[in-house]
Amino acid sequence: MQTEVHFKATKGTAPTVELRNITKQFADGPTIIDDVTVSAAPGELVSLVGPSGCGKSTLLRMLAGLSQPSGGTVQINGQPRSSTDTDTAFIFQDATLLPWLTVRGNIEVPLRLRGETRKNRTALANQLANWVGLGDRLNYYPRQLSGGMQMRVSLARALSLSPSILLLDEPFGALDAITRNRLNEDLLQLRERQMWTAFFVTHSISEAVFLSSRIIVLSTRPARVATEITVPFPFPRTADLRHSLEFQKLVATANEALYHHSHQELQ
């Protein structure tokens, strides 16, 4: 019984996004990220997996222009990114809702910032809230929501615009498997209609395999690209894919790779 959400069509096409030889060091600390080069083709969804604390969120922050690399460049369509040049939506690892706004208000934030009319905003907020299963909680304040609900509001907020670049930092981590799968599928559907290039951080390999066309496995201390796994399944993908043998196999392989390449020093 999924609600159809009628997003606006994106005007341009999705951009190419590249991280080139990125290194990162905080003030006087150790090098966190060392010479990471990753790129995503227009419309591609690239997953980043790696041990906790390796630097995934930091990479996304650099992609978003919220943090500056110590070395290397972030390029969009071949141009160095300046913080304001491309529509970017970022689902932070924690929901980052504004406590004084209701669910509706929070979902509407990007639309208000974009100067959308009240009518459009309300309509879209309703659709999106329904989509993430919060249609009956529109007037709740964040403190009245469960952790998973907050993340879903955050998801709805990010998708209320049709961004060119979508950065997702474990958006489904706090959700139960069923809600998670459903939202995964919805995201794939959305991908057919909206044009964005996405980076997706997750700890679930099967989610990564299901959603993305490539999985970048990062090692830790410092983060380096340990290995890259290409997911050969064609789009559009459906829920049934998960039950296929190839899928299961690839998940197992990817798990192996992650285990071998990224956790050396922890073992």
Binding site: T96, L98, L113
Partner: protein, 262 residues
């Protein structure tokens, strides 16, 4: 147990009764004469006798303080917005805002009276000067304390400075703002009374500060206490208004108001 609502009314009243009896007690114990500490009944009596004069005076002070308070909150708030949006202005100007605040009322009063002449405008100006800084200090702290993540969210969506200010920083700073406003409310009344003492005039009926000076210089201490008491009540109304507005603005989402049962 007594329901919470009642407690909020009963407790202050109980405390009031306690304070009153303490007052009477001290007076009786030390055998203090009326010119040092008049008894509650003497004060009440004096207040009643002077009711006409005090009513006009209260009204005058109320206007002066109200005008000053509204200006302090309004200008202070706008100034904070300005200072938070323009960092170089903040760095350049903030020291002088602090500076200006240090000018003792007695000196300011003299200068203000020279410039603005005696009257409500001077009184309001003094109330304004004294209430202005607390609003700026508090609000600015609030505006600067907005969680970094929320600011980044707005930057992500390429919010204009304007939007970042009004849709994010301002609501996030409200708890701080109201603290500043509460302090300004307290200071507005005391400021305007002090202002009247130093800059007031009896033309058009002096305010409470004027009455206080008159009572003091004719040794009518119970009446002085009555006038003082009215100052307190007046201030209380100001603070009460601020607290009510704060409740309206914050009760839905802020911890301080759901935390009352600490």
């Amino acid at each position: 147990m007594i329901p919470e609502r009642c407690q909020k009314i009963i407790l202050p009243i109980a405390a009031g009764i306690l304070i009153l009896s303490l007052w009477s007690g001290i007076k009786a114990w030390f055998q203090l004469p009326a010119f040092l500490l008049p008894g509650p009944s003497e004060v009440l009596q004096a207040g009643w006798n002077e009711r006409h004069a005090l009513t006009t005076a209260t009204w005058t002070t109320f206007r002066g303080a109200g005008l000053g308070f509204i200006m302090a909150v309004g200008v202070g708030f706008c100034m904070s917005l300005l200072l938070v949006s323009v960092p170089w202005l903040r760095q350049g100007l903030y020291p002088y805002i602090i500076f200006m605040q240090m000018v003792p009322i007695i000196a300011t009063a003299a200068i203000i009276v020279i410039w603005l002449d005696v009257g409500i405008q001077s009184v309001a100006a003094i109330a304004f000067l004294i209430g202005f800084f607390p609003v700026v200090a508090s609000t600015l702290q609030g505006l600067l304390s907005t969680p970094v993540q929320q600011v980044e969210l707005f930057r992500m969506y390429r919010a204009s400075r304007w939007q970042e200010l009004f849709l994010l920083r301002v609501p996030a700073s409200l708890p701080y703002f109201f603290t500043g406003a509460k302090i300004a409310a307290t200071l507005a009344v005391i400021g305007s009374v002090t202002g009247e003492i130093f800059a007031g005039s009896s033309s058009g009926g002096g305010g409470l500060g004027f009455m206080i000076i008159i009572y003091k210089s004719s040794l009518r201490i119970p009446a002085l206490f009555a006038a003082t008491f009215i100052c307190c009540i007046l201030g209380f109304i100001f603070v009460g208004t601020v607290l009510y507005l704060k409740w309206l603005a914050l009760n839905k989402w802020h911890d301080s108001l759901r935390n009352e049962d600490v």
